[in-house]
């Protein structure tokens, strides 16, 4: 535990906790729209931003926010058109993003260690300026996703109904796209481009196995994200493992634990009340 007396470990922990809380708050809307892998795509695009930042000697994170936002908006526009070619357009964007990133990093003076820090995360190298950026953007994500929950739920649940309710559907969709880009870029420092989607999606997948409503799923997913981030950093500090990978593995372990426990609980309940036959549905047709 004495490791947490060092400021860099404290920054790592706080950064991870902020991201652990914010990522599932956005991720639940992505899961509801069946866009669970969109975070991966935006992450690929963000990598081009990192490369450009390193090449131009600007803050890689800020350039990445900029480039990822453009990428996320482009993905949203392709999605809302609903064309069959959208799938291919996304593939082009994803691979173009990662190839562009690798190319630009190669052109700059950065070493492969720099690239790795963004691909797999580098929690322990977060500066206090980085931490301020993460905390401010993380708080903005949280407030937006929680305060606009009724509207974002309506749009993600039934887009046509939301349109007929007079909601600004396009604006809300773009808001989710931009928030995805911002979340990806701040989470990039913690778990890396390749593992970001895990923090957005896995806590939601864990929570929805046991919850009954949207709001309770969101709350539980945020709690699980916080738990995974805290435990993951602690495991990394104690066992000297990669922090980003540890956080994600804790999240996945929680998912498996809940899945198994849920299965056992259902089996036990079935055994406890074997006589309870399912009530028949009322007849919908008269058979002659």
């Amino acid at each position: 535990m004495e490791l947490f007396q060092y400021p860099y470990m404290q920054r790592a922990l706080i950064g991870a906790l902020v991201i652990g809380l914010a990522a599932p708050a956005l991720g639940i809307y992505l899961v509801q729209r069946r866009l669970t892998l969109i975070g991966d795509g935006v992450g690929h695009v963000a990598l081009t931003g990192v490369g450009a930042g390193l090449l131009l000697n600007r803050s890689p994170v800020l350039v990445a926010v900029f480039v990822a936002t453009i990428g996320a908006v482009a993905i949203e526009l392709v999605r809302s058109r609903g064309r069959t070619s959208g799938d291919l357009a996304l593939a082009l964007l994803f691979y173009g993003g990662i190839a562009g990133g690798v190319l630009l990093v190669g052109l700059s003076d950065a070493t492969s260690a720099n690239l790795n820090a963004y691909l797999f995360g580098s929690l322990t190298t977060i500066s206090s300026a980085d931490l301020t950026t993460i905390a401010v953007l993380g708080a903005a994500i949280l407030v937006t996703m929680v305060a606009l929950r009724p509207a974002l739920f309506a749009v993600s649940h039934d887009e046509e109904y939301a349109r007929v309710s007079g909601l600004p559907v396009r604006t809300l969709n773009l808001l989710i796209a931009v928030t995805t880009a911002v979340t990806v870029t701040i989470a990039m420092r913690a778990v890396g481009v390749l593992l970001i989607s895990a923090l957005m999606v896995v806590p939601v997948a864990t929570a929805q196995q046991v919850t009954r409503g949207f709001r309770s799923t969101m709350t539980a997913a945020m709690a699980l994200g916080l738990f995974a981030a805290g435990t993951g950093v602690w495991v990394a500090a104690t066992a000297d493992t990669a922090p980003g990978a540890s956080v994600v593995l804790v999240a996945i372990a929680s998912f498996l634990l809940v899945a198994v426990a849920g299965g056992v609980w259902r089996a036990l309940r079935r055994r406890a009340a074997p006589a309870a036959a399912p009530a028949p549905e009322p007849h919908e047709v008269v058979l002659h």
Partner: protein
């Protein structure tokens, strides 16, 4: 003479150049309960989707509450009930959460729900007989109960006009009765209804006027036509699929 609520003048709609509706004119005045009837593929669902602005018109014009559709913003006056609940990505939602979405048109997206919103959601749940299921996930409900949830969502916004797309298709008898009751109450309070139906069943006494859509045009506008042929048998239950090549029967002149 009541004020017109919906006016469609010479409306035409096409998907990818294929005409679905050609030159449709329809006026619904306040207090009316109009059923749009027709075989599958006749364009009846397209008609109400065009009225809601979900499908663009290729010709003609639509007016809602005396305003051109393009400039219509008072969406809280309209309650829309789609054919079915979208599957979603598997994130659970309770019946109450889905019904509460119906308040957004009235409340706006920034204001948190208040006492009036909660009271309206409670009343809507009672109106469709689902008050005891409010905390259950919608995915655990039967098809008919899910349909009633969507009707409650529309009623929660306290609309003046209800637009329903096949509200009773594949719905069990108990839910059809609950739905007919909710509709009767809505009309008794002065509401206007436009609904698309394949067959009317227990709704028949509530309907004041029927419009029959056939091959993209309106071929009947007036009293509810009597079922013809095997449709008229007292025990007839509408369970067979309607292909486009089925003899038109009732809808042919």
């Amino acid at each position: 003479m009541s004020a017109p609520v919906i006016t469609v003048e010479h409306g035409a709609v096409g998907y990818d150049g294929r005409p679905v509706l050609r030159d449709v004119s329809l006026t619904v005045t306040a207090g009316e309960v109009v059923a749009v009837l027709g075989a599958n593929g006749s364009g009846k669902s397209t008609l109400i989707r065009a009225v809601l602005g979900l499908v663009p018109l290729s010709a003609g014009s639509i007016t809602l509450f005396d305003r051109p559709l393009r400039r219509f913003r008072q969406w809280a006056r309209i309650g829309y009930v789609p054919q079915r609940l979208g599957a979603g990505g598997g994130v659970p939602a309770t019946v109450r959460e889905v019904v509460a979405s119906g308040r957004l048109a009235r409340r706006g997206i920034l204001r948190p729900p208040g006492t009036a919103d909660r009271a309206a959601v409670d009343a809507a749940l009672r109106a469709v007989g689902l008050a005891d299921r409010a905390a259950d996930p919608v995915s655990t409900l039967s098809g008919g109960q899910q349909q009633r949830t969507l009707i409650a969502r529309a009623l929660a916004g306290r609309p003046e006009l209800l637009i329903l797309d096949e509200p009773t298709a594949g719905v069990d008898a108990a839910s059809q009765e609950a739905f007919a009751d909710a509709l009767r109450d809505f009309v008794a309070d002065g509401g206007t209804v436009l609904l698309v139906a394949h067959e009317l069943g227990p709704l028949r006494p509530v309907i004041s006027r029927a419009v029959v859509v056939h091959q993209g045009g309106i071929c009947h506008d007036g009293t509810v036509p009597d079922p013809a042929g095997h449709h008229a048998e007292p025990d007839h239950d509408h369970v067979h699929p309607h292909g486009p090549d089925e003899p038109a029967g009732l809808w042919s002149n």
